[in-house]
Symmetry: C3
Subunit: 141 residues, 3 copies
């Protein structure tokens, strides 16, 4: 099989990421959780068991966000350098750089984390969803 | 109507932003001002009246840039996570993350602002221009 | 000739950069060096002679990386605002913003440099390689 993806798919994946991450950063956690497939898994925290399925992913996100209760912080996930590799089973592996930018009211923004996302993308009937995502943190390497 | 834009347009918008913001950061303010439509509006400062039309936008930019007189600072606007939504009137709404990176001579760069751009894009005869732009600052949220 | 590039090429260049820079940041220096044409040149350090050809580029990179011996640091090159301009000889000039993000173990990431890349891109039989790259550093401007 070919080792390249179409430009069409490359652009669709970029757009998918924009929608997915703006939903998360704007607090629309349910919309974000449903960018994962029904059996999709999300390994948010290194070493912990991944959450599987949109409902478990939603609960994981809500737990993660509790740290910001009483500490208003705007998160922005900037993605960059999207690298796509078709897999034999029809899915697409995606390796992406991320910068997690944090801003507190009246303060200068700071880079909270430099991350690398390892996604497996499912494309069914033109709809993109994640089969899996694991997040690597450069400061933990 | 469809809620999606073509990949062709998505790429053109990315390229438009690159051209538009490199013009601004390189001090070609007139070129930047003419990326707005004749009746295009630019709300640069929260709470202030938006400038309308390329000439007023140019004057607004010149006034804004005065703060850097005698304080050489290279600005770079990094845009990311472009999300496009077609509007009923044929325009396209665009919501984009921005990082404003500032560098002074011999100093390390810093993130001056984490922003979100809310644009309305006009595409006429294949030419992209902005009908409007308003800038939200995360530290003012 | 036309002053625009196709969306197809624009996306291919984005994908090329992702592959090229992930190779570099992951220490696959040889793969990175071979993203340059046989007579391709890379001016990494302002004022120094550019390295010419993949072998010389590889040696330049190895010398550059020596500064991190005994000082584990994860580099991530984020590219943004890709602006492409076709040249009369069939090559494509590319001007791109870069953020060099550095992370040391257990430390918060920092922006090491705000750079602008000036590339000349060769496209032969659908394969993209660099004819030349020079790197401008905002803090040296």
């Amino acid at each position: 099989m070919s080792a390249v993806v179409s430009s069409e798919l490359y652009v669709q994946v970029q757009h998918f990421y924009a929608r997915q991450m703006q939903a998360l950063d704007n607090g629309r956690l349910e919309e974000h959780a449903h960018t994962f497939a029904e059996d999709g898994s999300f390994a948010l925290t290194p070493g912990a068991e991944p959450a599987v399925g949109p409902q478990a992913i939603l609960e994981q996100l809500r737990a993660f966000m509790k740290q910001f209760d009483g500490n208003p912080t705007q998160l922005r996930h900037h993605f960059n350098q999207v690298l796509l590799t078709p897999q034999d089973d029809g899915s697409v592996a995606s390796t992406v750089y991320g910068l997690l930018v944090r801003t507190r009211p009246a303060e200068q923004p700071e880079i909270g984390a430099s991350i690398v996302l390892h996604d497996v993308i499912d494309v069914t009937d033109g709809r993109i969803r994640l089969r899996s995502r694991s997040v690597g943190y450069d400061q933990l390497a």
